[in-house]
Amino acid sequence: MISPFLGVLFDGFAYGMLLFLLSVGLSVTLGTMNFVNLAHCSFAMLGGYVTVMVTQRFEWPFLAALPVAFLSAAVASVVLERTLYRRLYRASDLDQCLLTIGIVFISVAGAAYLFGTTQQPIQTPPYLRGSVTLGGVNLGVYRLFLIGTALAITLVLVAGLEHTRFGAQVRAAVDSQRMARGLGIDVDRAFAITFALGSGLAGLGGALAIEIVGLDPAFAFTYLVYVLIVVSVGGLGSIGGSFAAATVLGVSDVAGKYYIPELGAFLIYLVMIGLLTWRPAGLFGRR
Amino acid sequence: MSAPVLSTRRLDKSFGSLVVAKDIDLSLPRGVRYALIGPNGAGKTTLINLIAGVLQPDAGRIVLGEEDVTRLEPEQRVKRGLVRTFQINTLFPNLSALESVTLAVCERRGVAGTWWRGLTGYREEVDEAYDILSSLTLGAVCYQPTRELAYGQQRLLEIALALATKPRVLLLDEPAAGVPRDESTGLFAAIAGLSQELTVLFIEHDMNVVFRFASRVIVMVGGRILVEGEPSEIAADPRVREGYLGGARHG
């Protein structure tokens, strides 16, 4: 009886890591720049489509496609940041919502126009398929890969924020923009890079998500809700928070479906409401 | 002196290891003008937050008249006549001064919850609000959105809002904060002019103002009451001298 439990735990964790990759970027941009970027999942979707294109049309290996997904999303986000977002940093958050929702609409229509409305097929390389059995627990290889990637990224991010000069600048900028500026930190640049980084991660998440949840133009909408849930439960601007939240939500979602399927659809929302009423600022929230 | 209108018994409050209030015993009789002085970080504002109910004390009681209000919500204390103002303007930027005060009056008269009757139907409330504003020389500007008022006028509006609730005890947190000295005297003249029924506790750094307007003075240091007494006694008190007045930073 223990092995299925571990299996569930594993699947849940893997799913959680997927959510984490998709949402950590938004959490950071929201927490640092206070910018309500509902178009976050559009960057994820972009990453997904780039991956499909690169692997299908140019027949690159899957792994080589991932960095491309990251970069393309990052670049796209910088372009948007320069052209549109920057003008709205001071605007009301409602205006920011409206702008970014508008961008989601455009991206959805754009994806449908460019790539068609079909489900995008993705062929992961053989060595990422199937599953291995460890101590009676059946582990999907791809999920192992997913978890590995997510963990690696978390480490890099945390280390980056804690131990690099840039990280210090960002943290300073978060605490008090004015003071940071006073210290001669180029806050705008710091934010631009943070933003690109966050969107890049979303792009990577989108690329990795196809194998598990598929990809079509509706993606930018469908996953917005999940991402928002993770961000709010985790607490704004907290990488650790997003990580914890994603894990909790992923595991409870999968476990719920396994043990009480009747609650399958409800559980993730119940958990969210529960956690938020318990800690309105999120698990690792600063407020 | 008559029975105290407001009294506190052994109030304690600490944030983690930082003790911001310890064994605070106060007892304010009706009609007095109490000044609360002390160096920055002495816990003056914290004390006001405790009395007003913004903060819950870790221990101790707060008694208003006969009633223990220690566990009441801030708005419930206001209803009972225990009212405070803020050191930093805490107003309604896009409401006109008239609207703001009318709102406060309506709240006191318990009509602010009615949504089926137009505001214009409440002539008395509006008149009262207008009178309060005029009495504080704000009559002429009361139609402008608050954010367009001069800083000094906004400080007065702080008080006007408090008065509109017909307080028995008024807690003024640095009413003259940021107001140039010459103006601040006028502002305190207005405070001094308030009804003698009203008990006032105000935080102020400017000793001249304190000694001119306060009937009694409380000195706080490090979250404790150092000494309480007549202005003259305080001025004379050696502990206060070295502990505070000495290299005292005014304002």
């Binding site: 702008l99 909408f221 704004l236 659809a265 009423t277 | 107003l91 609207e99 602010a112 949504w115 009361c142």
Partner: protein, 364 residues
């Protein structure tokens, strides 16, 4: 008009001036019956616009006036729709009673949930409204026996309105019905905005910290307005169910919640007419775009939203209001387009703002 402050000593004139009906408002409402004459073939659309406008109005009440951002408002719309639908399915197809029952149901649930709403703020509040909405959606899907699940509620049949007017193919009855209800609800809302209660709501939105200090029990006010808003949303939902004789999970959809939010922001929140203008612009644009380009009309809607944000900050009315600086002086939120700029709903940013301000408090 109100732009110049009245003579000193007459506060009543000023307040009355704020509550007074403006010519522009009258003109707007006089224009609403025009479709009967000019666009008889568009009455179904007009009816849907009126219903959407009513729904948006209900959201404006909590978002624009009490600063509660909700991403789950469709819950009440759907509740109203299902309530009305079930009443008719149960054999009682009389529209007005159905409307009443629906509003009651929505109101009850609204009041029940308002307890949580009044306790939370900022992102948590948004997400909890979202969560509740999604839960209800899943619940309706699961309760197949009652709601018909994903197939939608079958067998909704309305009796003629007032026993005389049946809901016709052209939508004469539908639009007349929706429009009248919208107007009545608008009158109620308008009165509410200009009442002491409305003033206290604006107070909460302007400065939630000060309100307790002047004796306002914020939570009970929020619960009250949230319930009223739920009632109105429920009525909107019921109208849709009755005029179309269809009820489906779509009425509870997250999309619907998001859409009504978009419509409100598009029109301009906290302006009473923002929701109405937003509904007209959005629905007409959508009808036209999707007619011209059924597959990619999303693109054009998106472009519309982006350009509005770029050129008309704070929504269409908010943006237009900029061009009439005088109107700001009066600071009358109720009148069309009038509300001082720089205002923001208690959203995520608000949280940060609160943070810094509280910091300052401590450093005294």
């Amino acid at each position: 008009m109100t732009s110049t402050a009245p003579a000193i000593g007459d506060p009543h004139r000023c307040l009355r001036a704020q509550a007074r009906w403006r010519g522009i408002e009258v003109a707007f409402w006089l224009a609403t019956p025009l479709p009967f004459l000019l666009l008889p073939s568009h009455l179904q659309l007009a009816s849907h616009i009126a219903i959407t406008a009513l729904f948006t109005l209900s959201l404006d009440l909590i978002l624009g006036y009490a600063g509660i951002v909700s991403l789950g408002h469709a819950a009440f719309f759907g509740l109203g729709a299902y309530a009305a639908g079930l009443v008719s399915k149960a054999g009682w197809g009389e529209p007005l009673t159905g409307l009443a029952i629906a509003s009651a149901v929505a109101g009850l649930v609204g009041y029940a949930t308002s307890a949580i709403i009044a306790r939370t703020r900022h992102l948590a509040l948004i997400m909890i409204t979202l969560g509740l909405g999604l839960l209800l959606h899943e619940g309706a899907n699961a309760a197949h026996w009652l709601t018909g699940g994903a197939d939608g509620l079958q067998g909704v049949r309305m009796w003629p309105l007032l026993g005389r007017f049946r809901f016709d193919l052209y939508g004469y009855t539908a639009y007349a019905y929706s429009l009248v209800v919208l107007f009545l609800m608008f009158l109620v809302t308008r009165r509410l905005i200009h009442s002491p209660f409305g003033l206290s709501l604006r107070g909460i939105r302007e400065n939630a910290i000060r309100m307790p200090a002047i004796g306002t029990p914020i939570r009970s006010r929020i619960r009250a307005v949230y319930t009223i808003s739920a009632v109105i949303a429920g009525i909107a939902g019921a109208l849709l169910a009755q005029t179309t004789e269809t009820v489906s999970l779509a009425t509870l959809d997250f999309q619907r919640s998001a859409e009504v939010l978009v419509i409100l922001i598009l029109g301009g929140a906290g302006r009473l007419y923002g929701g109405l203008i937003g509904a007209i612009v959005f629905m007409v644009a959508r009808d036209q775009f999707s007619g011209i380009n059924p597959q990619y009309w999303y693109f054009w809607i998106g472009a519309l939203l982006v350009s509005v944000v770029m050129f008309l900050p704070n929504g269409i009315l908010g943006g237009l209001a900029q061009f009439r600086p005088l109107s700001r002086r009066a600071g009358v939120p109720a009148a069309l387009g009038q509300r001082a700029p720089g205002w923001r709903a208690s959203g995520i940013l608000e949280g940060i703002a609160q943070l810094t301000s509280s910091r300052r408090d401590k450093s005294s």
